[in-house]
Symmetry: C3
Subunit: 164 residues, 3 copies
């Protein structure tokens, strides 16, 4: 039995979040068409958003953004972009996905040179949520593979761009 | 290929959490039958729960509860009810779903009149988990649509009702 | 329509996290083969992990570990191991799953003998994330049921074992 289109589409998103967390621009690029449009929005009020920066064009643009604009993880740090409650509509070679997302940041403590202190037990570090929102994404089936053609990141939090 | 019953049932829950976060009583109502029963429980001990308030009857009761009993989001605020690890059993025109849930609260900072302060960069605000538990829900397939007939919200935290 | 293999595999993981949170060694045991290998890893650097303790053998080993090595929940406490963004590959009677996970800890406040204080309203207690990582798991279909044969818990945080 073949995997359903809905699950295939959802797995593209699952690869997207892994590539984001790994800061893997090459893996990220492979999920988008050459002319895909990616737009990042920040909420300005109930149901209202503003575009953050310019739209990003194509898988190549996404690769560039991942490699140049995403802060690298600090030592001992990693992240999880996680998604929930997917609504997926497939219509022949087109699909639309809407998902909730939250970003978690993980920061492992550095092991002291002399080893963990007396009494330390279990995991050493913290996990905390830092962002939330919705992904709203269009896909096309191209030569048997679902590719992102339009990706909107709808962030819940206002966004401060550094002054130029 | 049609969407599987399991995915259809899961998408009703995905619409339920979006309607809850949007405080959209009309959208919420459409997911329940007219005589559906909704019960909210709070944990009192290992495996033990007490009912919070009265059972809510029908989609109309859910609409009323969403519109009258859920606190509106403060300015810059929103929420995400998110669900995980669904167990879904379909038996002809009946289905049962059990899912873990967590509620996250998002609070965006208000942009200062003079703009974000020097050095501010990225998202401005916080995301934090405030509730957790299980949804345990029965569905019936009615004229081709899965509707909630019995919805139990099993919260992990004790609940204080305001004195009357 | 039968449930898809992918969903069946995902539901084994959904039962695994429930059994973990319930500290139910018997339920946990039933999900693994008798010779399954379970390995818990802690991150030591980018893409690098070290094994925490010895590998655990079989469902019986998992039951023993759940019953003897997992700290019981404190009074009013519970947990949610939750999983996201599953990648599942099924090949006849073999399957492989990769999922993100986060562990949340819930701590309900104890209700004061005289009742909740004036002004208390809503849930009383906290929910917080304490661990994150990936599950990477192999399954085999045995007499119609998917069972875990190799389970790797890839934790993001360094782990301190108590001195022996």
């Amino acid at each position: 039995m073949e995997m359903s289109d809905e699950r295939n589409v959802q797995e593209v998103l699952a690869r997207y979040v892994r590539a984001t967390d790994a800061r893997d621009g090459i893996a990220q690029r492979s999920l988008f068409t050459d002319d895909a449009m990616t737009e990042i929005f920040a909420k300005t009020g109930p149901g209202a958003y503003e575009l953050v920066g310019e739209p990003i064009i194509g898988g190549e643009g996404v690769r560039y953004a991942v490699e140049h604009f995403m802060a690298p993880h600090p030592e001992g740090g990693s992240s999880h972009h996680v998604t929930f409650d997917h609504l997926i509509e497939v219509n022949e070679d087109r699909a639309h996905l809407n998902a909730q997302f939250i970003v978690f940041e993980t920061r492992g403590d550095a092991k002291p040179v002399g080893g963990w202190p007396q009494g330390a037990q279990g995991v050493q570090g913290i996990v905390r949520p830092i962002e939330s929102g919705y992904y709203d994404t269009d896909f096309r089936l191209i030569e048997g593979e679902w590719k992102v053609v339009h990706h909107r990141v709808l962030g819940d939090l206002p966004f401060a761009l550094p002054a130029v």
